[in-house]
């Protein structure tokens, strides 16, 4: 099993989620994060002064999937989260060794 972590622009969440549902992804977890990267932040104003805010609101999606799903998921996220502008985000893939569904105690891919 693999864990896919995708950092995307917040307003793309709905689209990405729908596209993942469409390729039969049944579970995922989402959280608000702040990103720092090439998209260099923006200036905010405070009583006539400017200050740079480096961290930009992003959404991170985490999904654990069977190995053979990885490529499909990555592609789907790439397609739907893409705007072509700096800051579209990243996808990271890593290994998951064990999974359990709390409700049933099932383990392994069946628990996803």
């Amino acid at each position: 099993m693999k864990k896919i972590e995708a950092i995307i622009k917040p307003f793309k969440l709905e689209e990405v989620k729908d596209a993942l549902s469409a390729i039969n992804i049944q579970g995922m977890t989402m959280l608000e994060v702040k990103g720092f990267g090439r998209q260099k932040g923006h200036t905010e104003l405070y009583r006539g002064s400017e200050y740079v805010v480096d961290f930009i609101p992003k959404i991170k999606i985490e999904l654990v999937v069977a190995d053979d799903m990885v490529e499909g998921v990555i592609k789907t996220i790439e397609k739907t989260a893409w705007t072509g502008k700096i800051g579209d985000g990243k996808i990271f893939v890593s290994s998951i060794e064990e999974t359990m569904r709390i409700r049933t105690g099932e383990r392994g891919e069946i628990a996803l």
Binding site: G48, S49, E50
Partner: protein, 437 residues
Amino acid sequence: MRKFILLALVALTLFSATAVFGADAPAPKVVNSGDTAWMLVSTALVMLMTPGLGLFYAGMVRRKNVLGTIMQSFAMLCMVSVIWVLWGYTLSFGPDKGGVIGGLEWFGLSGVGQEPSDYAPTIPHLVYMMYQGMFAIITPALITGAFAERMKFSAMMLFSALWLTFVYSPLCHWVWGGGWIGAKLGALDFAGGTVVHINSAVAAIAAVIVIGKRKGYGKVPMPPHNLPMTITGAALLWFGWFGFNAGSALTSGGLASVAFVTTNTATGMAAMAWMFVEWVHRGKPTALGIASGAVAGLVAITPAAGFVTPMSAIIIGAGAGVVCYTAVSLRPKFGYDDSLDVIGVHGVGGTWGAVATGLFATVAVNSAGKDGLFYGNPGLLLTQLIAIVSTYVFVFIASLILLKIVDMIVGLRVSEEDEANGLDLAVHGENGYDFET
């Protein structure tokens, strides 16, 4: 107004056999229900300003200090409510002692009752006392913006109690209580440009010098944590300020109306001015800017509200927006950390307002006032300047001394670690928000 009718009737009755009271006798002091209604409401409105200020300030600090900040205003409301009835009122408004201070005759409100006083002949003395008390509450609360996010709560309380006694009360007496600035010098301060705004801002200067900068100031961003809260606070301030300024007429009638209109007009104009200047300067109109501009306008019109025309109020407001914006945008250039711009808004705005009163005042608006420079009387401007400078000097020195004393007794500043963790948790054992469960 009603008084005039009564007087007219009285005059007529002079032709009858007996007169109730002669036209030459001093106006009788009788409670007027309409005037009293307006002053009760004004008192309540000014009371609301202090929690409003708490919101205005607390929205601008970092989340970890939200309670510490809002609580400073709330605690002023509570503490000064008690001090005022005990000794604050009598020191400020009690029988004059040499133009310098009020006597202790009215300690604990002894002799302050339901009958009118000389200060306001148509409302119960108690209402006048309470109305003035609300001004005494908000003034030290204003100062707290300067040392927000780093002062000990105990030190803040002790300092405020002393400051109210030894700075606010005398100054208030000088201007409104029959002391030398108002009664002798003849400076005009309709609703507290000197007593409230310049006063608090000069104390703020002393405070930021003594207490020093927040850790990281100028290096790490310290963004406001809740601007809708700040705007809500500004709105409550605006609302309450009608009591502050129009209430300062002490009656319900033409003068209150003028003050109401000049207040609203100057405020709207100042907010627009600040917003547009920032828009030009920084490229965007900000929500904090328009709210700050409104407060700057409220501050600036305060001393002038019952002495100038609505058209002059537009100019006063525009000036306030521009000069206060300039002042706060230059703040980072100065070495001091006036966290929430008490000096830039209340100091600069209050001074501009006191000067503007010397320029735009006209007896056409208020026969109890004076003409200003633009109405042919340069003398008033001079008078205003003397009042301003005297206030600067007295308040600065006295505040500095009190701060040093408090520093020796309890220490002014929280520890570095407490500052890093935030006042809420460190000083008050609480957490402002918990959105998890």
